[in-house]
């Protein structure tokens, strides 16, 4: 019983973190049809910005509880500054081109941003530990968990619900869905498609950045943090179906639980577990779990 609950909690906390990051990736693909390799770089920017914001708040003698606000502001700042610059200044010139070209463009962007973060923040690590201790510890059976881990679960639920509600229950969301369905028809109905692109890209970057910002207290923020997250995020969105929010949620849960099961029961298969699940899903559902099979346009 203890083991089952431990596996479940570990899977859930890992899945929450994954979902926040993967949601942005799948949203950007759904709207802009871009497989954004640079998503990990925006995650890293969120982590670095969090380090700076939490540091500034501490310098200004804000109470430690305000460090959570600092994390949120860091993600907002990254989305507000970097997303329009990237989308308007670079990506829009490649819309309508081959998807492979866009993958290469975002890969180039990933390499550039790796060096930009080093230029701005240097190579030394940053520690943002203040928020991590704010919520105390929670004892469940033989385990002691950090309360912050459960805050991440809550954050993932709030973000998932907010994005779903925004897309399905608001006018702006319906406009975005119209663009996803057919940008040509949407444009002919008077929708400013390029504005929708920028909005969707900014939200996607915000989600990456908030993932990085809320991960920063658990790690040392340093060059290279962008690499690991992008690979596993791709596994999540491929399992769930590219462009599907429900898919990202279920994909993250599947990956989180598969990894947790492997670590506890067969540690040697930890890395393998994620990709065997992905392969199994793709064998049965090549489009991913929540993606409709699409007719090929000729």
């Amino acid at each position: 019983m203890n083991l089952a609950s431990t596996i479940l909690i570990d899977g859930l906390t890992y899945a929450s973190w994954l979902f926040i990051v993967a949601l942005g990736l799948t949203l950007v693909f759904g709207v802009l049809k871009i497989l954004n390799i640079a998503h990990g770089s925006f995650y890293a920017l969120g982590a670095y910005a969090a380090a700076s914001f939490v540091g500034w708040f501490a310098t200004l003698k804000f109470a430690p509880a305000w460090s959570i606000v600092a994390l949120l502001l860091a993600a907002v700042a990254v989305a507000a500054l970097v997303a329009p610059l990237t989308e308007r200044g670079l990506l829009r010139f490649f819309y309508g081109r081959d998807e492979v070209l866009l993958v290469l463009v975002t890969y180039a962007l990933f390499l550039i941003l790796e060096d930009v973060t080093k230029l701005v923040w240097g190579a030394n690590p940053y520690y943002v530990s203040a928020p991590y201790g704010l919520f105390g510890n929670v004892e469940i059976g033989p385990q002691v968990y950090v309360g912050y881990d459960f805050v991440l679960v809550g954050l993932a639920l709030v973000i998932g619900a907010a994005v779903w509600w925004g897309l399905n229950r608001t006018r702006q969301g319906k406009i975005v869905l119209a663009v996803i369905h057919s940008e040509e028809v949407a444009a002919s109905m008077g929708i400013n498609v390029s504005r929708v692109y920028m909005l969707a890209f900014s939200i996607g970057i915000f989600l990456a950045a908030i993932g990085g910002a809320f991960t920063a207290p658990m790690i040392s923020v340093q060059p290279g943090v962008s690499v690991g997250v992008i690979i596993v995020s791709f596994a999540v969105v491929i399992i769930g179906g590219l462009g599907s929010i429900e898919g990202a949620a279920v994909g993250a849960l599947i990956v989180g639980l598969a990894r947790s099961l492997a670590v506890h029961l067969a540690p040697v298969a930890e890395l393998f577990s994620i990709y065997i699940v992905m392969a199994a899903v793709l064998m049965v559902r090549p489009e991913g779990l929540f993606q409709q099979t699409q007719a090929r346009k000729i």
Binding site: Q143, V146, I219, Q222, G224, G228, H264
Partner: protein, 440 residues
């Protein structure tokens, strides 16, 4: 057939001979001779996950040391300008990008940059990939950092050297330290990265435990991927089956993340954590580093370095330049450059003061011994190509007054106590119960 048409020169043959003679004279002036340099390719992580902990500190160490060598300001016997009067010209290359890229970069260094020697490589996988290439090209290569014992145990090289001890020393010393203090170790857990370094460290620790703690039972054996970042599940697994001792060879960002996530969950209070290569995270973690962790630095480096004039000088120039004390990576870079300097000067002494060839350098470094800030380095293993050195293990304590982590209860281990004898493979030596270890 003339390869160079004489039409390029306008003037009489006498004039041409005069120009050639003048150029020859200019080329032979002392000023031109003084400009001859010794070009060293220095390869380390300048980007990616290993940059902060290893690559950049090591390159920083190379920079201050080369500057001191070129100024002739290093203490004797390292006080000749440059390498035997040849100014050192470093070429820095990023190790990030994987073994295939490193093979190409190494070829570029030798063929395009025309370096006289290469000193480099943190990654065990990179070392395993580049060593055969240098050998094939018959070019001089020093591996300064990587830890896998397999380099000289699975192959023989003429042009390749490693100027630091391999990972067997680190794990044997850890277990010797536990044994010397009779620390309870009826059970032990392990968490190591799933690549050459982590796998080799895990194996060495297991074998050393089997001999020094024969009744100890291994429990959790976790192998997260390199760069995992999130260790919540692994920490749960370690806490679900608490062991007397928990061993890890994690390093860099992975180790920092593991400590930041496991410290608040109380792992360090439930088990005696032993870390084989952890000194480099201490300056950054500060009070976030739990007290009582037993750790090594892959040598007697940093806070565990022996007192000596050379160490004081080295510590001083590094701290002055970077406002932080040197940890293991710059120490290992320093001992490789000190060894290279002596090898170049020894080879020059034998060839009339000319810049040595790769063969002459290799002959000079084989079986060489020299003093480093971390103690005596002896190229005693791997047919004179693999270094052995003393090491040390200590226990962490945060000193609030000094605002830094200090190491208590430091024990030093002689090279011959924790390294296999010259002709024995590490694994065979460990399985045989470490025969010939001289620990007193």
């Amino acid at each position: 057939m003339h390869a160079f048409p004489t039409k390029r020169f306008h003037g009489s043959p006498t004039t041409r001979r005069g120009i050639v003679a003048a150029l020859a004279c200019i080329a032979l002036t002392p000023a031109a001779l003084a400009q001859e340099t010794f070009k060293v390719g220095i390869v380390s992580f300048l980007s990616g996950q290993a940059a902060e902990s290893f690559g950049i500190p090591a390159v920083n160490g190379a920079k201050v040391l080369i500057e001191a060598f070129n100024a002739g300001s290093a203490p004797a016997p390292y006080n000749k300008v440059g390498f035997g009067g040849l100014k050192i010209e470093p070429v820095y290359v990023d190790e990030n990008g994987g073994a295939t890229k490193q093979v190409q970069e190494l070829r570029n260094l030798y063929d395009r940059e025309k370096v006289d020697a290469v000193v480099g490589y943190v990654g065990s996988g990179d070392c395993l990939a580049v060593a055969p290439v240098a050998e094939e090209m018959k070019r001089f290569l020093i591996l300064y950092d990587c830890g896998t014992p397999r380099i000289f145990e699975d192959a023989k090289y003429s042009y390749v050297f490693r100027t630091a001890a391999h990972a067997t020393m680190d794990n044997v010393a850890l277990v010797q330290y536990l044994r010397a203090r009779n620390i309870k170790a009826d059970t032990f857990n392990m968490i190591n990265q799933d690549y050459a370094w982590g796998q080799d460290s895990r194996k060495d620790f297991l074998l050393a435990m089997a001999k020094l703690y024969p009744s100890a039972k291994p429990q959790e054996d976790l192998l997260p991927k390199f760069g995992a970042g999130q260790y919540g599940t692994e920490i749960s697994a370690l806490m679900a089956k608490p062991a007397d001792v928990t061993h890890s060879s994690l390093w860099g960002g992975d180790l920092q993340a593991f400590i930041l996530q496991s410290g608040p969950r109380g792992l360090f209070k439930r088990t005696q954590v032993v870390l084989s290569a952890a000194d480099h995270v201490l300056p950054g973690l500060g009070d976030k580093m739990p007290d009582g962790a037993i750790l090594g630095a892959r040598g007697a480096y940093g806070l565990m370095a022996p007192k000596s004039a050379l160490n004081d000088w080295w510590w001083g120039i590094y701290q002055k330049a970077y406002n932080v004390y040197p940890v293991q990576a710059p120490y290992r870079m320093a001992q490789s450059l000190l060894g290279l300097k002596l090898a170049v000067e020894k080879a020059m002494a034998g060839n009339g003061g000319k810049k040595p060839t790769g063969e002459q350098l290799a002959d000079a470094l084989t079986n060489l011994e020299w003093d480093s800030p971390a103690g005596r380095i002896r190229m005693a293993n791997g047919d004179g190509h693999q270094a052995v050195q003393d090491t040390a293990i200590g226990k962490t304590r945060y000193d609030a007054a000094k605002k830094m982590v200090v190491l208590d209860d430091i024990q030093r281990f002689a090279a011959d106590c924790v390294n296999p004898p010259p002709t024995t493979k590490s694994e065979d030596w460990l399985k045989a119960g470490m025969p010939g270890a001289k620990c007193n």
